[in-house]
């Protein structure tokens, strides 16, 4: 109602930047994945804020789809992670560099 849209979008930006730092700085694959989820969440927050400001429900429908796609991505990504761990016994992403030239 009376929360300015700019404040909410600024919060979304800060959360997104934190997610970016997480992906770039951490080497643990699971924490990197969680930082990606944090970024998706920040984008969702911006969608909801603008849906409220423009009174357009399409923003909320899009957030619904983003959450569904994030769930699918997490399922496949974690299955990949488990498979990589089985062959390497480590989840340090710096060790997964066999294609490096």
């Amino acid at each position: 109602m009376t929360i300015p849209v700019a404040y909410v979008v600024a919060l979304s930006g800060v959360l997104f930047a934190l997610g970016v730092v997480g992906v770039l700085v951490r080497r643990n694959a699971i924490v990197m994945f969680m930082s990606v989820e944090l970024m998706l969440n920040a984008a969702n927050l911006a969608f909801i804020a603008f849906a409220r400001a423009r009174l357009a429900l399409s923003g909320q429908v899009f957030v619904f789809f983003v959450i569904a796609v994030a769930a699918a991505e997490v399922a496949v990504g974690l299955a990949l992670l488990v498979s990589i761990f089985r062959s390497r016994q480590s989840i340090d992403v710096d060790l997964v560099s066999s294609l490096k030239g």
Partner: protein
């Protein structure tokens, strides 16, 4: 007096928003800093809960419940399962490039400053708040109506996507067959 009550409510909402914002940012930061993967996952759950309450503040009731059920309830539980499966390792070796960490933090600060400039520096920041509160905005009925009328095709395609993800997850995590 109605005017004074409205002003009290205004400050209360802003106070709730700032409280939630602080909780969200601090829990995200704690998730990044924590060396234990399980603590990181739990901090992220706190972050998702705070964001869900923010959704409620912005008249997105259905999406708030979906966030709690799917994101905090299913996705984070999946994360915790995998962390338990792999063992909560403390894999904190320094990144291979020595300048990666300061460069990442510097670039993230630049990003936040750019957000701030776009939102608060220019006169027409990010739009105006509508003055009234529409009835049933963000209720399950109204979102469902949009989902099943205007966005029916994306809805069905999403269900196929979820099927593909399920099949992919099962195929990828199957153990190698000894031949």
């Amino acid at each position: 007096m109605p005017g004074r009550l409205a002003r009290e409510l205004m400050t209360a909402e802003l106070a709730v928003f700032f409280g939630l914002a602080i909780v969200a940012v601090l829990s995200a930061g704690a998730m990044l800093i924590s060396q234990n993967s399980v603590y990181s996952a739990l901090f992220l759950v706190i972050n998702f809960m705070a964001v869900a309450v923010l959704y409620l503040l912005m008249n997105a009731a259905f999406i708030a419940m979906v966030q709690i059920t799917v994101y905090a309830g299913a996705i984070m539980v999946l994360f915790l399962f995998v962390i338990m499966l792999l063992g909560a390792q403390r894999v904190e070796i320094r990144p291979s490039l020595a300048w990666q960490r300061p460069a990442a933090i510097g670039l993230a600060v630049a990003l936040v400053l750019q957000f701030g400039f776009v939102l608060f520096g220019k006169p027409a920041g990010a739009g105006i708040e509508p003055a009234f509160n529409p009835e049933h905005f963000g209720s399950p009925a109204s979102v469902g109506e949009l989902l099943f009328r205007q966005y029916l095709v994306p809805f069905e395609v999403t269900s196929i996507l979820l099927l593909a993800a399920m099949v992919g997850a099962i195929v990828l995590s199957r153990a190698e067959k000894p031949t």
